[in-house]
Amino acid sequence: MSTNDINMLSNGDTMDQLNGALDTHDAAAETVAAIAQAQAMSADEIALYDRQIRLWGVQAQERMRSANILLISVKALGTEIAKNLILNGIGSLTIVDSEQVTEDDLGAQYFVREEDVGRNRAEAASERLQELNPRVAVRTDSSNILTKDQTYYAPFQLVIACDQNLETMATINAACRLANRPFYASGIHGFYGFIFADLIVHDYIIERETSNMPATIKQETATRSIVGVTTKKQNGKNIETVTKREIYSPLLLANTSPLPDDIIRNRRKMRSVTPLLPCMRALWDFERDVHRLPAQNSKEDLTVFTGMATNKLKELQMPIESLTAEFLRSFLHNIGSEIVPTAAFVGGRLAEDVINVLGKREQPIQNFVMFDGENFDGPIYPLQTFLQPNGLGSVPQVQLTGLEEVQMQNGHANGLPINNAISSAPADGQNSIQGGDVETIAIE
């Protein structure tokens, strides 16, 4: 990051300011000064980011600016995420992709061209991504992400994995947990997509005018609690600064977790749960068992997949009529396809969450978004199982020590992960296909 920022000083206002501040040409002093300069935003930088600083403030911008992000895979979805993060001015983006640009990429990966086919995808895409914002250090890594251990993840503030199978996502997620790094996973299939977040423990700050019901330290939902409240007077108004904490589950647990109680207990809510959720779960099972995606024209794949989706539906206790033949047909048609509008929505929403998480503001995704671009649906489901020492799932209670509370109030919250354990086995034996339940669905 520093290399890039020092390079940046070689032109424009920043250099003039730097010259004014330096009396000697001592190289060491120059470096020190350059680093000091790089830490505070220049007027030019504030002018560039003016419209977004007006939304989230200089402090959040500075937090983003010092963040190093790891992005795994840069196809249509990864490109959208990379584009948004680079435009917004994060510190550095490292793109890991061991694959080559294929002809299929030309349709939706708009930062590669015909002449790039056969080149490493990360390298080809990074050239045009870098042009979006010279202030961001864009780096590439063409090795296989599965060869990395947790030390690889430690230098990054946040990790995003795109278009991976469940096993790969879970492996990266586990390494991120060991390195205590927040993790996002996302994927798209034609009109459909998902976002998953495991931020381990994430604290964020909300500043607002105190209402007639001032915030107090309490558990708000199964995953969210208020862990700090301070108040101040500003221009005659009472302003409260509320620190909230969200606690997350790793992907493998989330993927076998039931729907939250408030949905299960409500028939209307239950009926409107998207069939995309069981279909995504079924797709991951299919990939795990068959080591590929269902083929478009294979009756056998269709039968197997339909059985798996039906099982997932039952596991989730969803009404059987939720999964229509029409939906199943549409989902299967879209498997493996990448189209830009879906990539732009899913990647855009994920990048927005990342930006807010880095800035420690706004409610983050908890923890699964299912996007259905055919029906304009985008529900968020908190799919959580918290492991207790006895292995039973339950809701963690927030117990603050005095010291932690002070840290919260200073905005330096850095809660320890309550649970690094990840179960890698399926939750139970019910994932196997039960042939008798397979419905026959005609696919054109």
Binding site: A47, N88, I206, E207, T221, G236, A344, F345, E362, G373
Partner: protein
């Protein structure tokens, strides 16, 4: 072709239509750049893009088709260059022009299968809405503010049009609030920008759009005093360039005028009285001001710091006006300066003067950064909201292009904990919309005998109440009567209806150009009535309208904002909705109904409604 593999997979047979589609994108800014990328990558055959704007540094954080080297160049032209590279099979036509230019007429609009609005102002949005209605082309309207975004598909006769829902108009302030009794920072900013700046460097205050003169009559005496004050300031303006000029201005507006106001004791019975400033004292203090802090536009400047910026910018602006005068040829109107948020000298002056006035009135001061936003109507804008909103526009287009209007929705981005988008079914057109509503009726009339003149006068004006000077009569053969053709010059008036093709079983379109209160547009099916002397004698009128005129609605105001529109139902008001406050803690509101009620009541106090250039829209309850 591998490039098209996924498009064929997901879009199926529809992809062939998309490849042949000719579409229009109005605006190449935040949403426009994202839209172009999406449309080019999904293979729309011919894309036209119109934008009159040029690229600015502050665009580059989100308008990703533009680079630093493109600053000051045409958005439309640069966007075409950049987006063309995404897909060589797509043809892009760029127009560096105003969408309201006459070349973009109804026939031109009609040549597109779909139009996308990616605009930043109400006026152009309304214009495109009208053109799409006239051309009967589907329109996808979109807008973003901060984290909020929304998309509204519009189709003539099928859905609400952009103007079916009332739109909030720019807010203006009573003259006396601005000049005598400010109570909020915005009042002082408007005073500095629209009064002081213009009196010293521009044209007189009366032309400022954000001043509301409607209650002037009730405050005659005060208005007269204010006129004197302004006249005195004009005299001071004459001494511009002299060393005493800054002190003269300061003494006038921060000492004398304040003292005069203090003399009006009635004014301060219920209000906190202002405190006059003293030039010598503040000037002495300002000598120690650190110049470095003045460059920091995030900082809240002290009295002395505001003074230093005020005095310094006053001199800078005077010098500029001086140079303009020297350069100009004799005989021309004297040069003036205009406020521009991106012009540092003018912004410094307005920020410092506004804060000095705030200090005299005991109102909180604002940083220059904040004042820039309030004075320049800046809308916070980020890359991700534009990306997600533009994506939704294209997903809507897929549904509209295959005629599946049941699946096209009004869609909003939301920061709820339960979902990332909200959707509503599209509503039918409002029958009394002043823009898109059309009523249908049957007119039984003798087409052989009735002249166009009697049709206009007896049927349209007398019976239906259209204004003779603002009504248009047309059918498939052309326009026969319109407001621009004066009665005397219109050769058609003598002709009978049948002579101008208004015959049995034909249709006539009546379009009123007048305002609210007038009847909506009317489509009349004509039935010829054989003249029967006995029947004519029986009724006083020689024609019959079916159904009767009570069923033909009148236009309602589409312009003025109503207070009920900010109701949580999310109504149908695009600008209001894009600016509806979604507080950072909406997550909690979802779970806490009690807090929600408290919050909804508070929302109206917020001061952030920003839309359009050149007008301040503030709720100052």
């Amino acid at each position: 072709m591998p490039r098209e593999r996924f498009l064929k997979q997901s879009l199926g047979a529809q992809f062939a239509n998309i490849k042949n589609a000719r579409i229009l994108v109005v605006g190449a800014g935040g949403i426009g750049c994202e839209l172009l990328k999406n449309l080019v990558c999904t293979g729309f055959g011919e894309i036209h893009v119109v934008d009159l704007d040029t690229i600015d540094l502050s665009n580059l954080n989100r308008q990703f088709l533009f680079r630093h080297a493109h600053i000051k160049k045409s958005k439309a032209l640069v966007a075409r260059e950049a987006a063309s590279k995404f897909n060589p099979n797509v043809k892009i036509e760029a127009h560096h022009a105003n969408i309201k230019d006459p070349q973009f007429n109804v026939d031109w609009f009609r040549s597109f299968v779909i139009v996308f609005n990616a605009l930043d102002n109400l006026d152009a949005r309304r214009h495109v809405n009208r053109m799409c209605l006239a051309a009967d082309v589907p329109l996808i309207e979109s807008g973003t503010t901060g984290f909020n975004g929304q998309v509204q598909p519009i189709r003539k006769r099928l859905t609400e049009c952009y103007d079916c829902a009332p739109k909030e108009t720019p807010k203006s302030f009573p003259v006396c609030t601005i000049r005598s009794t400010p109570s909020q920072p915005i009042h002082c900013i408007v005073w500095a920008k629209s009064y002081l700046f213009n009196e010293l460097f521009g044209i007189s205050e009366d032309q400022a759009s954000d001043l509301d003169h409607t209650s002037d009559e009730n405050n005659k005496e005060e208005i007269a005093e204010l006129k004197k004050e302004a006249a005195a300031l004009k005299e001071i303006r004459a001494s511009m360039g002299s060393t005493e000029f800054p002190q003269k201005v300061f003494d006038k507006v921060f000492t004398q005028d304040i003292k005069r106001l203090l003399g009006m004791e009635d004014m301060w019975k219920m209000r906190k009285p202002p405190t006059a400033l003293d030039f010598e004292t503040v000037n002495a203090e300002a000598a120690n001001v650190d110049r470095q802090t003045l460059a920091d536009d995030q900082k809240d400047w002290s009295l002395a710091e505001n003074f230093a910026v005020f005095a310094d910018s006053l001199i800078r602006l005077s010098d500029r006006l001086d140079k303009l005068r020297a350069a100009q040829e004799t005989g021309n109107a004297p040069p003036i300066l205009t406020f521009d948020k991106d012009d540092r000298d003018t912004l410094d002056f307005v920020a410092a003067a506004a804060n000095l006035r705030s200090i005299t009135f005991g109102i909180e001061t604002k940083s220059e950064f904040d004042i820039k936003q309030m004075a320049g109507n800046i809308i916070p804008a980020i890359a991700t909201t534009n990306a997600t909103t533009a994506a939704l526009c294209v997903l809507q287009a897929f549904k509209i292009m295959r005629g599946d209007w049941a699946k096209a929705k009004m869609v909003f981005l939301t920061k709820s904990t339960e979902r990332v988008i909200n959707k509503e079914s599209l509503r039918p057109p409002r029958p009394d919309c002043g823009v898109c509503a059309t009523a249908y009726a049957r007119l039984v009339i003798n087409t052989e005998k009735t002249t166009l003149e009697s049709f206009v006068k007896d049927v349209l004006v007398k019976k239906l109440g259209y204004n003779q000077d603002e009504v248009e009569v047309s059918n498939n053969a052309g326009v026969w009567y319109d407001p621009d053709m004066a009665m005397d010059d219109n050769d058609n008036l003598e002709k009978t209806l049948s002579e101008i093709n208004i015959v049995n079983d034909s249709t006539v379109i009546i379009r009123g150009e007048g305002d609210e209160g007038e009847r909506v547009n009317l489509e009349l099916s004509i039935s010829n009535m054989e003249l029967d002397p006995s029947a004519a004698a029986a009724t006083s009128e020689s024609f019959t309208l079916v159904p009767d005129l009570q069923t033909i609605p009148k236009k309602t105001p589409a312009v003025t904002a109503t207070t009920t529109d900010s109701a949580p139902s999310n109504g149908h008001n695009l600008p209001t909705r894009t600016t509806a406050k979604r507080s950072a803690d909406e997550a909690e509101l979802d779970n806490d109904q009690t807090a929600k009620r408290g919050k909804v009541a508070e929302e109206k106090k917020d001061v952030t409604v920003v839309e359009d250039d050149g007008a301040i829209m503030i709720d100052d309850d």
